[in-house]
Chain length 377, copies 4
Amino acid sequence: MSEKIRLGILGGGGDSLIGVVHRIAANMFDYYQIVGGCFNPNPTENKQFAAKIGLAPDRVYDNVDLLIAQELSLPPEERMQVVSVLTPNFLHFPMAKQLLENGFNIICEKPLTTTHAEALELQAIQDKQKVVFAVTYTYTGYPMVRQMKQMIAEGAIGKVQKVDLQYYQGWINPVIHDSEQRKSVWRLDPEKGGISCCIGDIGTHAFDMLEYVTNMRVKTLLADLNYRYPDNEMDVDGTILVRFSDYCKGVLRVSQIATAEENNFTVQIYGEKGSLKWAQENPNYLNFLQEGQPLQQLKPGHDYLHAFSLEGTKLPPGHPEGLFDAMGNIYMGVANAIIGEDFIHGAYPDIEEGVRGMLFIEKVIDSHKNGNVWVNL
Amino acid sequence: MSEKIRLGILGGGGDSLIGVVHRIAANMFDYYQIVGGCFNPNPTENKQFAAKIGLAPDRVYDNVDLLIAQELSLPPEERMQVVSVLTPNFLHFPMAKQLLENGFNIICEKPLTTTHAEALELQAIQDKQKVVFAVTYTYTGYPMVRQMKQMIAEGAIGKVQKVDLQYYQGWINPVIHDSEQRKSVWRLDPEKGGISCCIGDIGTHAFDMLEYVTNMRVKTLLADLNYRYPDNEMDVDGTILVRFSDYCKGVLRVSQIATAEENNFTVQIYGEKGSLKWAQENPNYLNFLQEGQPLQQLKPGHDYLHAFSLEGTKLPPGHPEGLFDAMGNIYMGVANAIIGEDFIHGAYPDIEEGVRGMLFIEKVIDSHKNGNVWVNL
Amino acid sequence: MSEKIRLGILGGGGDSLIGVVHRIAANMFDYYQIVGGCFNPNPTENKQFAAKIGLAPDRVYDNVDLLIAQELSLPPEERMQVVSVLTPNFLHFPMAKQLLENGFNIICEKPLTTTHAEALELQAIQDKQKVVFAVTYTYTGYPMVRQMKQMIAEGAIGKVQKVDLQYYQGWINPVIHDSEQRKSVWRLDPEKGGISCCIGDIGTHAFDMLEYVTNMRVKTLLADLNYRYPDNEMDVDGTILVRFSDYCKGVLRVSQIATAEENNFTVQIYGEKGSLKWAQENPNYLNFLQEGQPLQQLKPGHDYLHAFSLEGTKLPPGHPEGLFDAMGNIYMGVANAIIGEDFIHGAYPDIEEGVRGMLFIEKVIDSHKNGNVWVNL
Amino acid sequence: MSEKIRLGILGGGGDSLIGVVHRIAANMFDYYQIVGGCFNPNPTENKQFAAKIGLAPDRVYDNVDLLIAQELSLPPEERMQVVSVLTPNFLHFPMAKQLLENGFNIICEKPLTTTHAEALELQAIQDKQKVVFAVTYTYTGYPMVRQMKQMIAEGAIGKVQKVDLQYYQGWINPVIHDSEQRKSVWRLDPEKGGISCCIGDIGTHAFDMLEYVTNMRVKTLLADLNYRYPDNEMDVDGTILVRFSDYCKGVLRVSQIATAEENNFTVQIYGEKGSLKWAQENPNYLNFLQEGQPLQQLKPGHDYLHAFSLEGTKLPPGHPEGLFDAMGNIYMGVANAIIGEDFIHGAYPDIEEGVRGMLFIEKVIDSHKNGNVWVNL
């Protein structure tokens, strides 16, 4: 009946924030219909949540195995076409692997996996299966980020010679100073959070953004992390020197102890002819600096923007859109890929970006643990 | 099955921007299910559009009469509970009237009607029917606007002594200077646009916002409008002096020829103890000025905000939300009213605000046509 | 010996803020040497102050009569060439008149006089004497204001169609609400402050700026003032509708009860092709909006600026200059006029601007007292 | 006669920008009288310039030796009390040394010398002579920088745990890409510019500011510099990791190839309780972030500021002051020290700061040349 893409969701039930973000994003352009999923490992809560969001019970599954089995038994024109994986990080790998092997398209939250090796394994399967696989580095979906990517690709700022990205939050500060309190934070527990807190959570966003907008690959890095207290095992702050070459360098600065910062993620890319500057907390402004010219401030929805940037803007200039809209644009990119529409490279962050993210985390930790030395990516 | 509120929609089909806004808003909090409606006067296009947004054809109606008749024939637990009226302005009145008389809750786009008399007629019916009737002055849904309203109500800035609101756009500038081009704009045609262009379209937003955040009623006003050319019959700019009393005064400034402005709507409220300033293009900042103190900048999602403001924020601080979220909050307010939850006054703009808006338009035109004289509201 | 211009000063002794501003401005470009004056009506304090600022006692005079008499007795190459009048407002007229009649160039603080009639009388004398006569509307000296003036003159924004200036301060708020306290403020005492407080003090700045940057003359105005309390005789707030023609309109908004505002003076000029926006508290930014283009932000010191703007900037881009520098530029303009250098019109605010300012004050009060009616200028 | 401090100047003649800054600063508070100096090595130009700025020829000297000899021959109450050294960098050391040895107070431009060894030598003499010796790290003179220093000292943000300073300019970008052009820039010539371009010129400002506002000393650093081209011998960009301890870290980021940046110097200091952020291009705003509180924006001239901050503000809030005023405050600090007034530590940057700056440059180059390794300061 409906021509919408049939979407299933794993995780994101209850009060999950990320569940809200993905559902709103999926609904944003009338592309998707959420047809089922498994939102919660507890079967009762799973069903209750599904009812709350208006789903009929027949495609609400107790686990991913049942989901795959039953969906595969449906005719292709009824079967889920894409599954969003919003579960805790350690479940991304096994779930995505099963879904991949059974031919489902996938939208996976970041970090893609818990190790680079797992990520490579997924990538190898995806190479064979040729399904769409998106990793939701949400911020790449902002219209002005896409404009930045296009402008750099087209030479607006010339050859890139310096990069500087900052991702500062303060949310760990209130708990870090008391040894009891900090034990209560799962991200600070290596058992649950893996090998990194700050780098894994937000450093990867910065790293992905850097490679996304510049279309370049970091060659080598040197990291200095801060754990704040000797007995704290997880990084809460770090500065990472990066090099694209001996003469194109830069820095990523990330922190969760930048007290009272909210989500202060900024991007500064300097080229030989000009520069581009963007800030996540005011995402609808892109500052374009050119040698000897007045600064220009680009905003969404204008004819002077690239089609790739305009595509993601629904409202006329001056009507602010936000984070949901950025995620909505990624969902639109995935939808276009699934229905075979021509689409621009970068319309959604792909598995390669997810793999690079995992590599980045491991290399940063390596560099720091080995005495702040250069390591190659 | 679903516990969601059953929503019907009139208008908003095709490329309609306002249709997108309302559908996203309705989906934002899992409160509503869109069950049907009439999106387009052309039956074929109507059905096609309904299919595109994933609706089954059985509750897609050719017109409002059929919608009312068939929905009333359904048992109450299946019947549409609320209908959003997104049609051209002149259809608001007849459609809302029928819906009201048949007991439907209503979400109506602004302006409520085309005359104050019509608006009063609707209000009289609503008084009897006791249904929920919202008029979508969207900007009142922003969390920081709601915070402003609460702070003023609780005396944070003391007694209000001066108000200043600006709503500047430039979109008419490109067409106003050529007499042929300006004939092509329906808002500049009195046949289609009614008695006012600028005041009706954006002046009402400013006026509603003023009364919404201050909880006060303007007593008298004096307006000077600008038509830019002698043969242009519709206002494209205006400055309106307002008085709450002889010693509490202010000004509303609205324009559609403020060249290259986008949607520059700002609110400045000055009280005896402090002031509050907000700007729509950066809606996630509320500036609070106090005598002898540093300026404070309030942002969404923080514990220091009122519950009424926090309720509308889905993301942690620093993750920007925008216009869709403001409309989503109004839909949440309507949902709470329909399901009988206690709700704060102001959770949605009500019919009284719609009626005041129509009165405002007529009085502004009166004042200007009579030589920029004071008229009472 | 020194080739500097010989400057005398009347007033500005003791803790006088305006004295500091003029002395720093005079020293800014090595144009002037302060050679004497009368800084204080009390002879002892006068001499002490003169010593404090490093003046030899021989040209420190007890009053303006002695100053004129003795300076005239000096040979022209030693005589004061220009006198700055920084005394209380009511003394501007008699002092300036004497100085004019004796052929001195004059730099006079604003307001020029206490009535329009006095101002016209000075202008008549100046017409005959042909001396340089500057009225220090300080804000016209900012480099970005001068850039705005030049850009408008050269058509950068096309024909002006709308203007909006705001000058909001909050400094009277702390004293206005107590009838005893407000008696202690000389500006609120008609005996001392003349016919107007807010309009006279800051409204004139806004009015002058409007005519300065647009090179146009206001034809008619309608004012609504606020006295805040029935027994307060002096305006503390006002909104003034202005018209250049029936189709080019605007508004001046001024207040001293805009609680906790500091010196929030903003200028917005809208033309058919673009717009210019400037704010005094961040004077080193000029926003240039053009139809369909990204906003441009112009800053001082760049080659893309007009010579008239560049002339007043001493430091490279990015090194902020402030109010002293604005006044310094006015002093430079006067210096160039005195030494006969070619100079751009507008290099200093002239007596015509002083006269217009006095006319403005009287017409605003007229309009308000007569019931907020249009009055011609 | 005059009670002013007698100031001599070395260098700063002709079109020298730094000469303008120092002369305006010296005149700002009526503390100083410029009595003579040597402005130019060419005797004719020296005399012409002196005449232009209004000096009598008798104390205009052909060189520093003559200046010292003749001034020492004057009675103490006529002798220059302080000499400002504004000559090219390599002359700072010999001139300052002579002046020190002869008991003159000194105001010396930064960098203090060309090597750390020279700086230590000066410091040793100064220790004996007990004269006032200021090194003009101009930015420390801004009122909001002084407020930041005081707030940190008094614990407003708690224990500092992270620091981040940026000093980005783009001025070398236009010349760096052409090997001929870059030869024409003296700062890129090791013969003239010493061992460093970017670090020496602006890195030292960032380093001094960091230690000035935190009252802490950097223990160790690791630097990665960028020379942009293999054959360019001078750094034009660098990122420097710094540590105060194993758990209090930070970064200094400096560049002269941050294309089209002007003088974008920012300071971010994060403590356990809150944070402070300041930007040189908008120096009249200090952002104070506190855990769970709205951001506060402090501005100059308010009673809520420390006396040390207020002292340097001449105008009421909202009247912007700029770089000259920052330098003026340093001159005021020196004046107070000379006349023996009690003064706050930090009222002027002292020789210790000059010595630390030279140490910083050498250590940064060491770290980079040795493969980006940690070096102790």
